[in-house]
């Protein structure tokens, strides 16, 4: 098998991992090649619109486990391949030199046993860091069941180390990944959190959950993320809409992956991390799943309409963040500017506020943007939904125009 064939197989097996970011690290290049950019850099965008930042590959797609949802599971008859450490190092350096990538994302199926696989990962990354003096970004996946010694070693070589929990509840994991134990993933997260520092996993850890392969609600999923952020100080939870790669009676028969749902989860995740929302704010037992017609923030505002409208000039920064159409940047701009002068509606536009969305939920200097009689839940809700639809058809039109 030549190198190109191998790369195809081992990139194809790795592509379902949603993690793409190359941020959070400030490695400087010393005598070798490469450094990292704290904000991360996207080098290209794939045909599915996802950012390509790292050379995302598996060391091998051989695996002793048989997770139902996974292309690489033991019981599948697919072509198997293994990279040598030297091959991975060579591709990484050559791609990096030509500025195709920001670094390497290295995961693996389990060969023989967890520590055997970990040692192969370690050997590869040692080669890159020491022989090739590679200073670019490296994200490695820790193999559940790995010993502390190997976690320690791998963690000291990479920028990000992570383990995927894959499914939000233990019962689902038992059902679809009978060889995996949730406690083993927990142990890894715990270990990384405990030892996280400048020279150990400087960019922190992340994880991934598959969406729609099992019957959990959005509330289960977002609740799980919330507790992961809380317990392990994860940098990111990634959500990956389930794509049927295997036939199995335990798996749902989906024609198209639940992409809209995945998008809603990302939006909500953002609200948890940066906007001060909690799972309870966003979902409850009566509404355990996100509204597919309206984004979670707008949905929250409509459901809590009695908390609005908020006065832009006096409400707290925390409240500014709750207003649809106002992002972190514009909230900060508002908070700083209103100390200098009283804000009017026309000022908001210059600050990046999406007035089309925000106008229903704010007053500016005690004036409501439209006729105050229209401050009414049903009216606002239907307007927001309509606007989203229009925006969608408009961008579609624009793009077909450019093509």
């Amino acid at each position: 098998m030549n190198l190109e064939e191998k790369l195809k197989i081992l990139a194809d097996s790795a592509k379902y991992d949603a993690s793409c970011s190359s941020s959070g690290s400030t490695r400087k290049s010393k005598n070798g090649i490469g450094n990292t950019a704290y904000a991360g850099i996207c080098h290209s965008f794939a045909s599915d619109g996802r950012c390509i930042s790292l050379l995302k590959i598996l060391l091998t797609n051989c695996c002793i486990f048989d997770c139902k949802y996974c292309l690489n599971r033991k019981s599948n008859t697919i072509q198997r391949a293994i990279f040598t450490p030297e091959e991975i190092a060579k591709i990484t350096i050559n791609f990096y030199k030509r500025n195709y990538i920001e670094g390497l994302f290295l995961s693996s199926g389990i060969l023989k046993n967890p520590d055997y696989t970990m040692n192969l990962l370690i050997k590869t990354i040692e080669l890159l860091r020491h022989k090739y003096r590679f200073g670019g970004y490296i994200h490695a996946k820790a193999i559940p069941g790995a010993s502390e010694t190997s976690l320690k070693k791998l963690g000291s070589l990479v920028d990000r180390l992570s383990a995927n929990i894959e499914l939000p509840t233990e019962s689902s994991l038992k059902l679809l990944a009978p060889n995996k134990e949730i406690s083993k993933v927990d142990n890894i997260m715990q270990y990384i959190k405990k030892n996280h520092q400048k020279n150990f996993v400087p960019a922190g850890q992340s994880t991934q959950m598959i969406i729609g392969a099992t019957k959990e609600t959005d509330k289960d999923i977002i609740g799980k993320s919330e507790s992961l952020y809380h317990h392990y100080q994860l940098k990111r939870v990634f959500y990956s809409a389930y794509i049927p790669v295997n036939q199995d009676k335990l798996l749902p028969r989906l024609k198209i992956p639940p992409l809209k749902r995945e998008n809603r989860l990302y939006q909500a995740d953002w609200l948890l991390r940066y906007y001060g929302f909690t799972t309870q704010d966003l979902l409850d037992d009566k509404n355990p799943n996100f509204n597919l017609l309206l984004d979670p923030k707008a949905d929250y505002a409509v459901r809590h309409i009695n908390e609005f409208p908020k006065e832009i000039n006096t409400c707290s920064y925390k409240d500014l963040l709750k207003i649809p159409g106002i992002g972190i940047k514009s909230a900060k701009r508002i908070a700083s500017s209103r100390k200098l002068f009283t804000l009017q509606f026309k000022d908001l536009k210059n600050m990046g506020v999406v007035l089309k969305r925000a106008k229903y939920f704010i007053t500016c200097n005690h004036k409501y943007f439209i006729n105050p009689e229209y401050f009414e839940k049903k009216f606002i809700e239907s307007n927001l939904i309509l606007e989203d639809k229009e925006k969608l058809t408009q961008t579609k039109k624009q793009l077909s125009f450019f093509e």
Binding site: S44, G49, R50, Y100
Partner: protein
Amino acid sequence: MKQTNSIYLYQNTFSSLLSLIQLLIEAKIKPINIKNTNYTPSLFDTIITLEINEKDGINFWISKTTKEIIKTTYYIFLSNNPEKELIIYYFLLNSLKYQNKIFYLRRLNCVTKALKISHQVTNEAHKFKGFTRFKELKNHILYAEIAPENDILILLSHHFKNRLKNEYWIIKDTNRQIISIYDKNKFYIVDNNILKIDHLATTMENEKIEKLWKSFYKTIGIKERQNDRCRMNFMPKKYWKNMLEMSEEIEKNNK
């Protein structure tokens, strides 16, 4: 009768522009036009050249404003906006009064414009940190061509100076016909006609690597999630020309 149009000239450098603006402000002159020396005057133009001391200009602004203000101004200077000199003039004029508070005075037209342009330049420079593609020439020099809208070559060069410290590299801005040459120590930005690069032949090895990258690119996209709209949003077509992995896509589109 048409009135004459006074135009103040500067030497096409950032410090020269800063000095000129200092002189104008001190003389309480509100210019209607500031242009660099490449400008071809028309019949009704009156060209005015003031005696400029570039060093004084820089020092003046360093002592009277802040790092953030000078940085923003510099980014505007790199933009391709035809009005940039006047925008800088008004931005600096107001900066004297408001200092860093100016960043919150988006109510002033000149501030909104200034921040928008400087943001566009930063943004474009950031995109090219990712989208620039080098190839390895026979003599092991890494060579890339870019076609940015703004004059970001210098910003990009700083980035690659740190990243590809121990490589020789050349980046050519084909829109401006300028190149940046890095000799493992410093980079130099020069006119394209000063240096003739006609040995662009690459190695066999380079071709192999390029093939690997193209097949990686094709493999990594998930068919079931194909989304041209999303890709186009993040990576508009204007960037594709110099991106190796998009060559097939361009061919497909041209058919």
